[in-house]
Structures are given as C-alpha cells and as structure tokens.
C-alpha cells in the first residue's frame, strides 16, 4: 500500500507554547491530547488509537527524570493497552514522529495512530538546559572533547550564516528581516510564544550571541506539547467531514560532523527529504500554498526555503524583501510565526507545525491570518540533530 492519499489526519491538538512554569510535563501533554480528542468533529474515543509514537528529545534530563519512554506516554495519557515507541531524532523529532505514525497506518498494521510530542525546556535556565539534555554540541559519539570545544546551537548555524554572507552576499539585515516577518505572524497566532513586533533596527541592536547572529536572530527554548491523530483514509469520514490527507512524508540524513559537510550554504538532509516527500506527493514546490520551515535561526529559514526548492539558491533574501514569503504574499512561509516567534519545544515543534497546517487547510485560523489557498497543499519541515544532519518533511493536502 502506498502512503500518498491513503492516510488521513482527523484531528490535531496543542497548547499555546511558552515559558510554562505553572505547568508540568504531564499537564502540557494531557492538555494537548485532550484538546486534540475533544476537537475531532464527530467525536473520538481514545480507545480507537491502536498504536502511538512519542516524540521526546531531551529524554527527561531537563525535568529531573531518568528516562522518558513509551511507558511514560502510556501513563500520562491513559493508553496502557497499545504499543508506544519513543522517537528521538533531534530537532526533526516532531515531523519524524508524525511520519512513523503515518507509516503505522499505511503499513496496514493499525487503523488509527497517534503522533505525540512534548518538551519541557524552561525549568532550567538557557545554557544549563541544553547541557542537561546533552545538546549544545558537547561530547557526541565519543568524540574527543577538544574537537567540540566552544560549540553550541548558535555556533552551528553562525558557521553557516557567515558562509552564506560570503558566497551569496546575504547581510545581517537580510537575516533580521526574517525575524521581522515571523514576529509579525506570531502576533496574530494565539498559540505563539512571542506575540510582539520587532524592527530590523531592534534585531540588529540586540546583543550579539554569536556573530553574525544577534539575540533576536535566535529562536527561544520553549515548553510545549502538540499531537495529531492519523487514520486510514477510507475510515476518516467516520470522524470528520473535513479530513486532511498525507500526500508525502520523508526523512533525510547526512553527515553529523561539521568538518565532513560538503557546503555551508545548503543542507543535504533537507534537500534529500524534500525530494523524497515531493516525489511521493507527485508535486513540485510551486504547487504548495504555504510552508512551516525550520527557522531556529533567521539565516536557517533562508537556507531551507532554497533547499526545499521554493526558489533558487541565493534568491530567498531578495524575495523576502519584496514580501514574497509574507503571510499575504505569494508563498507564505511560517504563518504561525515559525520557531522564531511561535517557539521551539523541540519534539513538539514539528507537530505544532502540522497543527497549524491542518487548521490553515481547513480555513479555521480566522480571517486575519488565513493564507490564500490555491491547491490546498501545505508543507512542514524541520532540520537539526547532531550537526544539523537530519531533516523531516510532511506534506498535507485537502484532497487525497
């Protein structure tokens, strides 16, 4: 059985992302799941879920728990009689968790599956939070510590940003413009963490985190949870008259270590995942109405737009200046506010993008931020993992 058109999304749910000191991991997870179940159009009994995938990146270190595994989600959601597998695949965990649930349905093994992601990153302060999770570039795969000295999330992307400026002529002002657009989108999105505008001047005057990236070029570390229920397309109408269909799903990988990369102006994981997902969907990038792409740093969004194929390499910044990627532009990118303004609770991020695309395709986000639909097709994308070596992409459509 092929995947395209044979798997439907019948419900999604999330909570507003943010610094949720008042909520525990369990609170967030349960609220997102209840939002999802309670909002399935024709009602939904959680007992219909036959298997679940639990996206979880930090593994419990940040909330003082040993291990988060399938059993954790079973207990949190009261789903003790189905198989549940934890997925950890770096920043693409959310989109990859969704992909696994989709494969669960498409394989014929299960009629209905749950893709779930939650992350609690703010109970510890910034640097400590990433160190607690073993992230930030320290000590992966038994590499000698001297090779990883001084690495960290912003460094990984700043090394790309410098090279993009060198080879493509991009400027810090171009990068700042991404923040301006995504903050503007975030203002209107009720689920976004940051709901304030920024100007180019404000971005460029914010503290330098890692030249050429400023504080307001960086996405936040966020608490959040999001999920989606997928089922056999021929069963979807039992749950809703407006299912959204999975057209393409793919994960791409490449080298983990920075010194093996062939280029610092493009990311092969994204290029591979995009090619595979678009081929499965049988469409071209131009057929897509809107996309949520991984803007963990502002320069990354420009790179992703090009790598997915929405424009040629080196053209994304000029098109941004023209308003091409705006919410009311020709190709809206990150109408939710993106990681930059919507927040980045790692395993929940991709599933949050899928929630946004589901609601946009069903025209349920309200007039102010509804994007214009032509073909009724939306794409979600993450890239990350060790050395930005993993990407996952899902393409959803109103028609199977």
């Amino acid at each position: 059985m092929s995947i395209r058109g044979n798997v439907a999304v019948i419900g999604v749910g999330m909570i507003p992302f943010g610094e949720l000191f008042e909520k525990s991991f369990n609170d967030m997870a349960q609220e997102a799941f209840m939002n999802c179940v309670n909002n399935v159009d024709k009602g939904f009994d959680p007992k219909d879920i036959k298997a679940a995938w639990f996206g979880q990146w930090s593994g419990g270190g940040m909330i003082g728990q040993g291990v988060l595994a399938g059993t954790s989600l079973a207990t949190i959601l009261g789903l003790r009689d189905i198989p549940i597998t934890r997925i950890e695949n770096g920043c693409p965990t959310g989109n990859d968790t969704f992909r696994n649930a989709v494969i669960g349905v498409a394989s014929g093994a299960y009629d209905v599956c749950l893709a779930f992601g939650a992350e609690k990153m703010r109970d510890k302060p910034g640097v400590e939070s990433l160190v607690a999770a073993g992230g930030g570039g320290g000590g992966i795969l038994g590499l000698h510590p001297s090779w990883m000295l001084g690495m960290g999330g912003p460094v990984l992307q700043a090394l790309y940003a410098t090279r993009q400026m060198h080879e493509l002529g991009y400027t810090m002002e171009d990068y700042a413009r991404v923040a301006v657009k995504n903050h503007h989108n975030g203002v209107a999105c009720p689920y976004a963490e940051y709901r304030f505008e920024v100007s180019i001047e404000r971005v460029l005057n914010s503290p330098v985190v890692c030249w050429p990236l400023h504080l307001l070029d960086c996405c936040p570390q966020t608490d959040g949870a999001a999920c989606a229920i997928v089922c056999r397309a021929d069963l979807a109408k039992k749950y809703t008259d407006k299912p959204v269909y999975v057209l393409g799903t793919a994960t791409g990988v490449d080298y983990q270590d920075m010194w093996d990369k062939h280029s610092f102006i493009e990311m092969l994981p994204t290029i591979k995942a995009a090619k595979a997902a678009l081929t499965m969907a049988g469409i071209a990038p131009n057929d897509i109405d809107l996309a949520e792409v991984h803007d963990c740093f502002t320069n990354t969004e420009l790179m992703n737009i090009e790598d997915i194929g929405f424009c040629k390499k080196g053209e994304a910044a000029a098109l941004l200046k023209e308003g091409y990627w705006n919410r009311d532009g020709a190709k809206p990118i990150n109408p939710s506010g993106g990681l930059k303004a919507h927040g980045h609770p790692i395993a929940a991020t991709g599933l949050g993008q899928i929630c946004e695309n589901f609601w946009q395709l069903r025209e349920e986000v309200g007039q102010e931020r509804q994007v214009k639909l032509k073909n009724g097709i939306a794409l979600s994308h993450n890239v990350g993992g060790g050395g930005f070596g993993v990407s996952a992409i899902n393409i959803l459509g109103r028609e199977p």
């Binding site: 640097v127 160190v131 930030g136 570039g137 320290g138 038994g142 590499l143 000698h144 510590p145 001297s146 090779w147 000295l149 001084g150 690495m151 960290g152 912003p154 460094v155 700043a158 090394l159 790309y160 940003a161 410098t162 090279r163 060198h166 503290p207 330098v208 985190v209 890692c210 030249w211 050429p212 990236l213 080298y255 270590d257 920075m258 010194w259 093996d260 610092f264």
Partner: protein
C-alpha cells in the same frame, strides 16, 4: 550529584582518551580510496560512500579559514569572545576548532591563513587536557 558525575564522566585516562591519541595528537585521519573523501578521526567505514577500504591519512597543520563565527556566549569555562573556525587543511580534510592569540576577532576572515598549535584546552579533575587550536599564520 557529585558521585554520579564521577561515575559517568570519562576520566583523563579513560579508554576514550588513549584510544584517540594518534588521531588527536598526530592528526591521523582517514582517506577513502574509492571516493577520495577525507575524514577525521579515523574510521573503519567511509562516512561518504560506505567503503570498507579506508586508509590512514596524515592531516596537515596549516590551512585556510573556510568559515568562522565570533562566539559571545560560549559554554561554561570559556571566556568570551571566542572564535570558532572550520579550516580547509592544506592537502585536504577539514578541522573544527578555536582560534587562539587573536587580539582582534575582526582580523579573521574567510580565507585567512592559520596554523595549528598545541594548547591546554580543558581541565579534568586537576589534569590538563591538551589539544590543537589555530593561530594566525605569521607574515612571510
């Protein structure tokens, strides 16, 4: 917490360190005869093409800056600003590291010539751990 750290953190004499000695200090990498990819540290399987025939390859200590950034928020234990670089080594292969002895980070550009020098890079329970950093190549 202290006890747990003690058990889980590799000690300076732990297998991780001596196993990588030749790679770290003699700069031995690997080159694949099938696809010519040069990688570091040495591996038994080429990460580029999957070939099993990789051979030891001596990396050079000099090269040019391929890309860099000026890090004002380094991890604990390092004083900002530090300059992270990825260097195209003469003779092939790349090396990721830090610049040392730069008075002014603005002196660094893509294409700047650099040279490896052995420096103390960290302390682990009272013992010094050495590794390579880069400094700007002297004129002439």
């Amino acid at each position: 917490m202290w006890e747990r750290e003690k058990i889980t953190q590799p000690a300076p004499a732990s297998p991780l360190f001596w196993r990588l000695n030749a790679d770290v200090y003699q700069l031995l990498g690997a080159k694949c005869p099938d696809c010519n990819h040069i990688t570091y540290p040495r591996r038994k399987i080429c990460p580029s093409c999957g070939s099993f025939k990789v051979e030891d390859y001596q990396l050079s200590k000099s090269g040019t800056v391929h890309t860099f950034c000026i890090n004002w928020t380094p991890p604990p234990g390092l004083e900002p600003p530090i300059v992270n670089v990825i260097v195209d080594l003469d003779g092939g292969g790349r090396y990721q590291g830090l610049l040392t002895e730069v008075a002014n980070p603005e002196e660094v550009q893509i294409g700047t010539r650099v040279q490896m020098v052995l420096r103390k890079v960290m302390k682990d329970r009272g013992l010094d751990i050495y590794g390579y950093k880069f400094r700007l190549e002297k004129e002439g």
